[in-house]
């Protein structure tokens, strides 16, 4: 896992101590850089699928523009529907159905010749964008 690095200037993320992109894990496997992340987003499944496909395309273009070589970039979208929240403050217990679905999005990028920090930033941005698009 990459724990310490200087951030690319284009990256506007906030970091937790240890300068690590929250939720993004990177490692080198022979010459291949493997970068994986996941996020849960509440929203509409079809919209998220379409937005993710667009974002993956943008990511692929970016990698190639940076002279990187794409091994394989893949993502998985899993949907828990419906979403129910159960809560209590000590009195009664409320059971509430939440509109929309809880969508788990995982992204794995296996690339060559690409800067690890920049790639982590790009993937973190991808998740942020997805989240913003559903808010």
């Amino acid at each position: 896992m990459i724990t310490k690095h200087n951030h690319a200037e284009s990256c506007n993320h906030h970091y937790h101590s240890g300068h690590h992109h929250h939720g993004i894990e990177s490692h080198l496997h022979d010459d291949a850089l493997v970068c994986s992340g996941k996020r849960d987003i509440i929203g509409d499944l079809e919209t998220i699928k379409q937005n993710l496909a667009d974002e993956i395309e943008i990511l692929a273009k970016w990698i190639q523009e940076m002279s990187g070589i794409i091994g394989h970039v893949k993502a998985l979208v899993q949907c828990d529907s419906p979403v129910t929240m159960i809560s209590t403050t000590g009195e009664d217990v409320t059971v509430k159905e939440i509109a929309g679905s809880s969508i788990h999005v995982s992204v794995v990028a296996i690339v060559f010749n690409t800067n690890v920090q920049s790639l982590e930033c790009r993937i973190a941005t991808l998740f942020d964008t997805l989240q913003k698009q559903t808010d």
Binding site: L76, I110, F112
Partner: protein, 209 residues
């Protein structure tokens, strides 16, 4: 238990082939002492498993091995999981999907040395990206062809017949003995081709016996 190793570069189409091949093997009427026809070992290098979920969703019995390179650091884990599958499930076929950066020939050697079991290698090559990959990492993509019995030349839907010829020609530089079978795993692979793959694997198996 017959073992097939599915190798080939990242994104060449191994999982796409595996889904159809496993389904085909599952559909075959065969006398075998175990109920289970096909078990799958997935070796992934991402921290998050994706292929194993796709295959499990399709109803297959899948074991997932993370990281390592299946030929060195992962040896112990790979050997242990094959042993476990052999004793607990004893499937007629075991299909191992290698990572896209592994040398399937090395995996075969490990299994033979550690377990005394021989395996047949199928290597999937990406017709569309072949030349680009040879230019960028010849050692890896040519090394993945070593010791393979069959080259499944995939994504033929994306190349012209002239380009396909060139790729076949290039592959022959690295392996002159393997059968080269053009396919498009994105679509339904014709049964005749799946049969050919299985027959070829069985023929090799018989030769070894």
């Amino acid at each position: 238990m017959k073992i097939l190793i599915l190798g080939g570069f990242l994104g060449s189409g191994k999982t796409s082939v595996l889904l159809q091949l496993a389904e085909y093997l599952d559909s075959l009427e065969k006398e075998y002492h175990s109920e289970i026809k096909v078990a799958i070992v997935e070796n992934e290098i991402g921290a998050i498993g994706i292929d194993d979920k796709v295959l499990k969703k399709a109803g297959f019995n899948v074991s997932n091995l993370f990281s390592g390179c299946a030929c060195c650091s992962l040896t112990g884990e790979l050997v242990a999981s094959i042993k476990k599958i052999q004793t607990e499930l004893d499937p007629q076929w075991l299909i191992i999907e290698a990572t896209g950066v592994a040398y399937p020939g090395s995996i075969r050697k490990v299994i033979l040395a550690e377990l005394g079991l021989d395996a047949t290698i199928l290597t999937v090559a990406d017709a569309k990206r072949w030349q680009r990959l040879v230019n960028a990492m010849e050692l890896l993509v040519s090394g993945q062809l070593e010791d393979t019995s069959i080259v499944l030349l995939n994504k033929v839907d994306l190349v012209s017949s002239a380009e396909l010829k060139q790729v076949e020609h290039s592959i022959l530089n690295y392996n002159q003995t393997a059968a080269i079978i053009p396919i498009s795993a994105k679509a339904v692979i014709p049964e005749a081709i799946l049969k050919k793959i299985v027959n070829q694997a069985e023929a090799l198996d018989d030769n070894k016996a």
